[in-house]
Subunit: 307 residues, 2 copies
C-alpha cells in the first residue's frame, strides 16, 4: 500500500529508471515481424505476436538491470483485442522476470466505473466462484480531472492488493501549460492544486521510504516545475516521462529526487526500444542495444543525482 | 467530419438518447451466464461470452428505436483481453444493426501515443500490406487535461474517417467541482475554459446542423451549468450522462438542447440494462424490459424538450 516494492527494486539495482514498452510495428525489427506474419498472417494476431516477441526479447535483456517496465496501453489497443492480449502476456512475462509493471493507461472515470478500471488493471474480478486478475499490473497511471470520485475507488484496490497509482500532474508535452499552468482558485497553478490533491489522496498509505501509494506524473521537460513540485509534495513519488526523445536531460530530471536520491523513476521508451537503429547494429541485436542504452541512461542519471 | 451522422439518426428516430452498455456480470440474467459458463467455464472467456450475448439481446431490441449505444471500456477491460474482445464484437454487432457507436474510454495522451488511441478506436492501423480497423467506433470520449497536444491527433483521424470525439467538460459526479468549477486564469471556471477549447478544436469541422466533430461531456446532474454551456458553446454537441440512476431528470437535461430541439444525446445505462429487475419481469424478457424503458425515456425527454 505504497511504492515500497518499486523503491526496494530501485535501491537494490541502483537504477531509478523504467523502460517504456510502446511497441509500434515500425519500431520492431523485420525478422520478428516476418516470423509473426508467417505464422499468423498479416493480421492483428500477427501484429500482436510481433509485439509480444519484441517485448519478450527486451525484458530478457533488461530484467536484471532495470527495475520496472511501463507498457503504454495505446500501442496495444492500436492492434485490437489481439494487441490487448499481447499487453496481458507482456505484463505476465515481465512479472515472471521480477519486474515491477506500470500500466500507462491514464484511465479516468467515476464510482463503480472507476472501480471497474481499478479491478481490471490492479485487482481481481469475481467470475462465478473464481477470482481472476484481468491484467495484474503493479501500478496504473490515471487522470484526476473528475476529482476525488475518480480516485477514491482506486485507493481501496491499492490498499487491498499493495498497488499504486500515478496521477497526471504536470505533463511533459508542449501544450501542457494551456490548462495545467494557469492559476486556479487560490492556487498558483492547476498542477499545483492537482499535486496537493495527490498528497491528500495518499496520506494514509505512506510507506517506509516516506512515499505514499499515490504518485504523480511530472514531465522531465519542465525542470523548474519538477523542482517546485518535489518541495511541495514530500510524500508523492514521481513518474517522470519526457527524458531522451522528448528533450529532457539527466540534469533536468535530477530535481525529481529527494536528498536521499530517491523519490522518482525516470522513463525512457523510444531511446531504449529503438537503440538498435541509433547504434546501427544488426537488428537481431536490438535487445542488446537496448541494454546498452539502459545502462548508459542509468549511469547518466545516477551521476546527475549525485552531483 | 462532424456529428451529422448521429444527428441524422436522432432526427429520423425522434429520439435524442443513447443506451449505455456497461455489462457487469451482476447485471446479466442468470440464464445467459449459465449458458456462457457451461460453454467456456468460469473463466474470462465465459464472462466475455456472457457480456456479448447480453449486449446482443439489448441491441436487437433497441436498434430500431435508439440511435446509438455507448459501451463503457472499463466494464470490458474488467474481464481482461477476453472482455475487450467482447467490446469489439459488441461494436461490430451494433454497427451491423445500423447503430452509431460511442466508445466511452475517456482516453488521453499526447502526440504519437494519442494518435495510437485515435487509430485504435476510430481509425485504421497498417499491418504490413493490410489496413484494419481495430475497434471501429464512430466516436470516442476523451479527457483534455493535457491540452491541444492531446486533442489534435484525434482531429486528423476524425476528418479522415468521419468520426467524432466528446471531451470531458463538466462531469456528472458529485466531486466534479473540486477542479472543474474553480475559476482559472480569466475564466469563471475550468469547465468554461475547457468548453471554449472544444469550440476552437472543432471550428473547422462544423456540419449541416451547426455542430462540429468535437463534442463535450456535460452531466445531467448540473442543469444550470448545462444551460450556461449550451449558450457558450453553440457549435459543440453534448453527450449528457447522469440521467436516471445518477439523479438527472428529463427537465434537468432539457437545457442541453437548442431551439431546434437538437444539440445533445442523453445517456442512460443502468436504467435500461437493468430495467428487468425494476419491472420484476422474467429475466428472459430483460431486453423487452430494456426496450420499454428506452421508449419511456424517449417520450419523457421529448416532452421535456417540447415544453
Amino acid at each position: 500500500m505504497s511504492f515500497d516494492r518499486l523503491i526496494d527494486k530501485i535501491v537494490e539495482m541502483k537504477n531509478p529508471t523504467v523502460a517504456g514498452l510502446d511497441p509500434k510495428l515500425d519500431f520492431i525489427p523485420d525478422y520478428i515481424k516476418k516470423a509473426a506474419f508467417e505464422r499468423y498472417g498479416e493480421t492483428l494476431n500477427g501484429a500482436a505476436e510481433a509485439l509480444y516477441q519484441f517485448n519478450k526479447g527486451l525484458i530478457d535483456e533488461l530484467c536484471d538491470i532495470v527495475p520496472a517496465v511501463k507498457p503504454q496501453c495505446a500501442y496495444y489497443e492500436m492492434y485490437g483485442w489481439q494487441g490487448v492480449r499481447a499487453l496481458y502476456d507482456t505484463i505476465e512475462y515481465a512479472k515472471s522476470k521480477g519486474m515491477f509493471v506500470i500500466t500507462d493507461g491514464k484511465r479516468n472515470d467515476i464510482g463503480t466505473t472507476m472501480q471497474a478500471y481499478a479491478t481490471a488493471h490492479l485487482g481481481e474480478v469475481q467470475v462465478a466462484n473464481e477470482k481472476i486478475a484481468p491484467f495484474g499490473a503493479d501500478a496504473l497511471t490515471v487522470n484526476g480531472y473528475l476529482g476525488s470520485d475518480g480516485i477514491n475507488p482506486l485507493l481501496d484496490v491499492c490498499k487491498l492488493n499493495d498497488k499504486g497509482i500515478f496521477v497526471l500532474v504536470k505533463t511533459s508535452n508542449k501544450s501542457s501549460g494551456e490548462l495545467q499552468d494557469r492559476a486556479i482558485g487560490e492556487y498558483s497553478s492547476l498542477y499545483s492544486l492537482m499535486g496537493e490533491m495527490c498528497e491528500n489522496w495518499g496520506s494514509d498509505t505512506i510507506g517506509k521510504y516516506g512515499y505514499s501509494a499515490v504518485g504523480a506524473v511530472v514531465g522531465a521537460t519542465y525542470p523548474e516545475q519538477l523542482n517546485q513540485l518535489r518541495k511541495e509534495l514530500p510524500h508523492t513519488f514521481f513518474l517522470v516521462p519526457g527524458y531522451g526523445a522528448q528533450g529532457g536531460s539527466a540534469d533536468s530530471v535530477a530535481p525529481a529526487f529527494d536528498k536521499n536520491g530517491i523519490g522518482a523513476v525516470i522513463n525512457s521508451s523510444r531511446a531504449i526500444m529503438c537503440a538498435y537503429q541509433k547504434q546501427e547494429c544488426d537488428e537481431k541485436d536490438y535487445a542488446k542495444a537496448a541494454r546498452k542504452e539502459a545502462l548508459r541512461m542509468r549511469d547518466e542519471i545516477n551521476s546527475a543525482i549525485n552531483k
